[in-house]
């Protein structure tokens, strides 16, 4: 079984910060905006190197999204950063009208998504953002799993012409994808070949899926594991091909089971290859204060939860 090595825990938001800094050096059209969260979004290096290309909007996310839309008129590629909650729900109509419907080339960069934001609690832990964003026509939705992938994704989305929602997080997590990876929007990453069950994970749950697959292997269960970093457009072929082979699927995400990756997978399978599915996700609930690990355990978002879901789905085959 292939071994994925954690090269040292790092936060995905720092991957965003490094990617943005690199873009600042390589693409003169890239500009950045932030609504009073520079430190949290790791944007300081970009700002130090390109002060004229940075726009501090203050605590005014609606204006930030509108300004980002306006900056595209004149050829700029704006990266607008704030917490996922304030980058989606708070400004949904601004994104809908001024960015998505208007077809503007804005990159919405959302940190601190999900319960792993931790102690700040439910006011800041959005678990609905993937659903909100994937419903917008023309919006690309990406949820990266580690530092290296987030950095690669940040750089890649600058080359994509159109609005993108890039979702990442706060805690330091395993960094296991290749440093020199080529990030292809809409292309699934196959982590393990298996025959008994398909495990499809996104974001922080990808590392948990790897841990789960290794433990399942010890129990004689062979898991096909797919890292879906792009929830929209979804790599439907990778999903269908895998489930045709395994006959059942477990989806895993740090998001409500309503509106998330699991629903996108279920819709794809319902249309092309119906199969039993279990959802590792929050169950239509808000989060709460706690450490990231405590919250992932309490809300059933870890390797153990994936193993339990796998055992359950296997019985439904």
């Amino acid at each position: 079984m292939k071994t994925y090595i954690d090269t040292g825990k790092k936060d995905t938001r720092s991957g965003f910060g490094e990617g943005l800094t690199e873009l600042g050096r390589t693409n003169p059209n890239v500009v950045a905006l932030c609504a009073d969260l520079i430190g949290s979004l790791k944007m300081q290096d970009f700002i130090d190197e390109n002060p004229e290309r940075f726009f501090q909007t203050g605590i005014a996310e609606a204006n930030m999204m509108g300004m980002a839309a306006g900056l595209t008129i004149g050829g700029k590629i704006p990266f607008a950063g704030t917490f996922a909650n304030f980058a989606t729900g708070r400004v949904y109509d601004q994104i809908r009208q001024s960015i998505a419907y208007s077809g503007k080339n804005v990159k919405i960069c959302a940190s601190h998504s999900g319960v792993t934001l931790g102690e700040d609690g439910a006011t800041h832990q959005i678990l609905e953002d993937i659903g909100l964003m994937k419903m917008l026509p023309g919006m690309t939705v990406i949820n990266t799993c580690d530092f290296n992938q987030t950095k690669a994704a940040t750089i890649a989305i600058a080359e994509h012409d159109g609005p993108v929602y890039l979702r990442f997080g706060r805690p330091k997590v395993a960094n296991f994808t290749a440093e020199d990876q080529k990030f292809e929007i809409g292309k699934a990453v196959h982590l393990y070949e298996g025959r008994d069950v398909t495990i499809i994970a996104t974001g922080h749950l990808v590392w948990e899926a790897i841990q789960a697959a290794q433990k399942l292997s010890e129990k004689g269960i062979s898991a096909d594991v797919i890292n879906i970093h792009t929830i929209k457009p979804l790599d439907e072929k990778a999903i269908i091909d895998s489930v045709k082979k395994t006959g059942c699927v477990v989806t895993a995400e740090e998001h409500n089971f309503l509106g998330g990756l699991g629903e996108s997978v279920a819709r794809t399978l319902a249309e092309h290859n119906p199969a039993p599915q279990e959802f590792v996700a929050t169950q239509d609930t808000f989060g709460e204060s706690g450490t990231p690990d405590q919250l992932m355990e309490k809300y059933g978002l870890n390797a153990e939860a994936i193993i339990k879901a796998t055992e359950k789905v296997l019985k439904r085959k």
């Binding site: 204006n63 300004m67 700029k76």
Partner: protein
């Protein structure tokens, strides 16, 4: 013919176009459109804006205009069509299925002259701000214009943008507020009194010009030229333009009743008779 008379004739034809567009589909917003006819004429025909009907979304090396109160699309469409952005006959398709002339303006169908969708109120000023900042980055000395409704200023996003523009010395931006004192549910005074608009903008750090009669072509030209002369001096410029909703059609004036209502056949004839054909109907 004097330049003013030419512009007034253009505005009269635009009024006819507004009435005919909304009458045909029995929907749309004639009141605010009629009130802003002189403003649009001045921008696109009166030499206020340097603009290119060979439309390019990026709009480099030209002045840009953003309509935030998108519901007054009939005046925008007529002005753009008659300024060469798209065929005048296309006004026939206003609000019809498969049209580029959607109820509220959009980039989605590729209509030349539109740079952002608007209709959900309160968003245009922020977009104009971003475009103005892009012009500065591009070392493009042209200006960005925006039009907002007065009722629209009840949306909080405007005040985020107003604060940002002054705090960051966005002095290549001229935002005009259409002070017609009306909104859907009644007068702005009865729906939500907004107090002293001039004092509010000045308190936020803007350079404010009061344009007393936004339906007088000469005054509109003078006011907007004065606004242009005040750009580049470290402050965003606001033009508080008092207009009469429904201006030019007597039974539509001084009331909010025609905010979003189309005239019937008889009312159309009355309105058209008050605005005789000048450039030719589409």
């Amino acid at each position: 013919m004097s330049k003013i008379k030419e512009l007034e004739d253009f505005a009269t034809q635009v009024r006819r176009d507004i009435l005919r567009q909304v009458h045909k589909v029995n929907s749309g917003h004639p009141g605010g459109s009629l009130g802003c006819t002189e403003f649009f004429t001045a921008l696109y025909q009166g030499g206020i804006m340097e603009h290119n009907p060979e439309f390019n979304m990026d709009g480099k090396e030209e002045d840009l205009f953003f309509l935030s109160n998108g519901h007054i699309s009939p005046v925008f469409y007529s002005t753009l069509a008659r300024s060469g952005y798209f065929p005048v006959d296309e006004l026939n398709t206003f609000r019809l299925i498969n049209s580029r002339l959607q109820g509220h303006p959009t980039t989605h169908e590729g209509l030349p002259g539109i740079r952002v969708a608007s209709g959900s109120l309160g968003q245009g000023m922020s977009v104009a701000l971003g475009a103005a900042q892009a012009k500065k980055l591009n070392k493009d000395n042209h200006l960005v214009f925006a039009l907002l409704g007065d009722g629209e200023l009840q949306e909080g996003q405007n005040w985020e943008a107003i604060m940002y523009a002054a705090g960051n010395k966005v002095d290549n931006l001229i935002a005009t507020v259409d002070l017609n004192g009306q909104q859907i549910d009644g007068s702005t005074e009865t729906v939500l009194p907004m107090g002293n608009m001039k004092a509010k903008f000045e308190a936020f750090g803007w350079d404010v010009i009061e344009l007393e009669d936004g339906n007088n072509m000469q005054q509109v030209l003078d006011g907007l030229n004065e606004a242009k002369s005040r750009t580049g001096k470290g402050k965003p410029v606001c033009v508080l333009m008092t207009t009469v909703m429904g201006n030019g059609v007597d039974f539509m004036m001084h009331t909010h009743a025609w905010h979003g209502k189309a005239p019937n056949d008889e009312q159309l004839e009355t309105g058209l008779a008050q605005n005789p054909e000048t450039l030719g109907d589409y």
